[in-house]
């Protein structure tokens, strides 16, 4: 793939603004409502009484480790699987109806959702025609969508020659072709580099700002800050948390810190022993990665300020101190009870 795809520059269409205005009247009514849904695969319960709501114009992150049930829930919302129990409504209808499908966009997690031997443009035109567009209109919409995601230059290349990031943008372009009212995104960024992930999130944010309700599944927890409006955290098929991102971060109880310590003398085992003795019951400290780096693990009732004061009392300077994991990561690990594993 030698063609460099241009940077996405999706101009917000006027129709989108109108749609956003139109939908603001319905803001109280969720675009997606999942009520007490259970899904069983043989003896295994993949979802246990899951409930959530996604409103128009918002991004709702569905967070959870592998096997938490995120993809199963998306498959139920797209009628690719049925719930064993509970109720699901998308835009006021049960999933699966022809009319409803024309109003939903779906971005699958894998790369294998296109015909690799034909061009991106022909792929989009094909899927647009399955949404009922005529050939000419389908091609026009395909061109518009490809330009929106910065793939205009690669439009006539076979999809087989696209990079992961380009295929992901093509997936978004496919969703854009029909201007969906609900967008379901299954781990869109899991195999993308940071820049690729940023581009995809930006495109989805623009759709949401145009009024689309977005359900975004991910296990890249740090990407939801400043991106998602609400979060539902799944743990072994159950809702472990639902709320806003700040509310999720409030669950963080950071206990591990990375310290950079300057000592007048050598930083050998003797220094570590001296630091540990100063800390006493406040926690444990260990060298980390050589040089001046240490990991401080606070005891349950210990206070960070007291621990730092105890360390500096041994004639060392604590140059930097930051959490080993982000607050979101801490909250995620706390709520999924996997700390220390």
């Amino acid at each position: 793939m030698t063609t460099s795809a241009s940077t996405p520059s999706r101009a917000r269409p006027a129709v989108g603004a109108a749609k956003a205005t139109r939908r603001s009247a319905d803001a109280a009514i969720p675009a997606v409502e999942v009520r007490n849904v259970t899904r069983r695969f043989g003896a295994k319960l993949a979802l246990k009484g899951v409930s959530l709501r996604v409103h128009a114009g918002t991004i709702h992150a569905l967070l959870g480790p592998n096997g938490a049930g995120k993809t199963t829930l998306l498959r139920i919302l797209t009628a690719l699987a049925s719930p064993t129990d509970g109720e699901v409504e998308v835009l006021g209808s049960h999933p699966g109806g022809r009319m409803l499908k024309s109003r939903i966009g779906f971005i699958p997690s894998g790369d294998r959702s296109f015909y690799l031997r034909i061009s991106g443009r022909e792929n989009l035109a094909f899927f647009a025609r399955l949404h009922g567009l005529g050939r000419r209109q389908a091609l026009d919409e395909a061109d518009r969508a490809l330009a929106s995601v910065g793939l205009a230059d690669a439009a006539r290349l076979r999809v087989a020659s696209y990079s992961h990031g380009m295929q992901k943008r093509l997936s978004i372009a496919r969703a854009l072709v029909t201007t969906p009212e609900v967008l379901l995104v299954d781990e869109a960024t899991h195999d993308l580099d940071p820049e690729g992930g940023r581009v995809v999130r930006e495109l989805v944010s623009e759709l949401a700002s145009d009024g689309t309700a977005v359900l975004w599944t991910t296990q890249r927890i740090d990407e939801i800050r400043g991106f998602a409006d609400r979060v539902t955290l799944l743990r072994e098929g159950e809702v472990a948390f639902t709320g806003t991102v700040p509310e999720l971060m409030a669950h963080a109880i950071p206990r591990r810190y990375l310290l950079r310590i300057r000592n007048g003398g050598p930083n050998g085992p003797e220094l570590t022993e001296r630091l540990q003795a100063a800390l006493a019951e406040r926690g444990t400290i260990a060298a980390h990665g050589g040089l001046d780096n240490y990991v401080l693990a606070l005891a349950d009732e210990a206070v960070l300020g007291d621990a730092i004061a105890a360390l500096t009392a041994t004639d060392v300077d604590v140059l930097t101190c930051h959490q080993e994991r982000s607050e979101i990561e801490e909250a995620f690990l706390h709520l999924t009870r996997t700390v220390g594993t």
């Binding site: 139109r22 319905d26 695969f41 009628a79 049925s82 499908k101 031997r117 034909i118 949404h131």
Partner: protein, 285 residues
């Protein structure tokens, strides 16, 4: 939910809309076929090799063993050309219809298709549509090539009636293909069984040899084979000069056969798809 009225379209509009999607499938598969240039070229070269092969086999066959059509004796090449043309149509058509959904499943596009507002039956038919158009075209070229190179005598007035018989036979293939598709969707690896089924159908059709050479009980059973009926009608029309007289009988047998096959195939396919959705195993292969 959004406050906008989304009226359900009329059934006739839905059906028309679904049919309007079929050309998109044909274009997709044509572009895919053309992207495999070597495969495309070698397929056509293969047709001409097949013609030569039949010609030399025909030289060994005692034509007195072959049936007459309209009182006219035919050469083995004339006899087999029609049989093979139809046999290949059945074999490729059956395999393609039955594995169309499976192929989408394997390449990972099935779920992307199913989330569009397109009926599963349209996806199934659409995925096989290109071959249902391309194979008869390929078959026609084969017959024309045989006739031109080896001077075969096809009755001019029988070509159109033979084509009509082929057309009314297509739903039989489609229906059987749908039943096979249901089996493939459920049991995953069903290609072998489809091959056996297609071979049995061809064996008991008289495509390669006269049915009179079979044991009498088998020959009696084989005469109920819709493929055998279609084949006999086509030979009578194209080789025996029977023209349009074969069409009423063929229609009387093949139309109900096609209807039954289509209904049973549709039910089986819907049940298989519903089972996959219920189990949540549609994406697994």
């Amino acid at each position: 939910m959004s406050g906008i009225a989304h009226a359900e379209p009329r059934r006739i509009d839905i059906v028309r809309g679904e049919f309007a999607k079929l050309p998109a499938f044909i274009r997709r598969d044509l572009l895919t076929l053309l992207s495999y240039r070597m495969g495309f070229v070698s397929d056509w070269i293969g047709i001409f090799f097949q013609v030569f092969l039949l010609y030399f086999i025909g030289k060994m066959v005692d034509t007195s063993q072959l049936p007459t059509f309209g009182g006219r004796s035919v050469t083995y090449l004339e006899f087999a050309a029609v049989g093979i043309a139809l046999g290949v149509f059945v074999q490729i058509g059956l395999a393609r219809v039955s594995t169309a959904v499976r192929t989408e499943q394997m390449i990972g596009t099935l779920e992307s298709l199913l989330v569009t507002p397109t009926a599963p039956a349209t996806i199934q038919l659409g995925s096989a549509m290109f071959d249902l158009v391309y194979i008869p075209l390929r078959t026609s070229v084969f017959l024309v090539a045989v006739a031109a190179v080896f001077g075969l005598h096809f009755s001019g007035g029988g070509i159109l009636p033979a084509a009509i018989v082929l057309l009314v036979f297509a739903p039989v293939v489609w229906g059987l293909g749908l039943m096979s598709a249901a089996g493939v969707l459920t049991f995953r690896r069903g290609e072998g069984m489809i091959g056996i089924g297609a071979s049995l159908l061809a064996l008991s059709s008289g495509a390669y040899f006269p049915l009179t050479l079979l044991p009498s009980w088998l020959a009696t059973v084989a005469q109920l084979n819709p493929l055998a009926i279609a084949l006999k009608s086509m030979r009578d029309a194209a080789l025996g000069g029977a023209g349009w007289t074969v069409v009423p009988h063929a229609l009387a047998v093949l139309v109900p056969s096609g209807a039954v096959a289509l209904v049973l195939g549709s039910i089986a396919f819907r049940l298989a798809l519903a089972r996959e959705l219920r189990l949540g195993t549609l994406g697994l292969y």
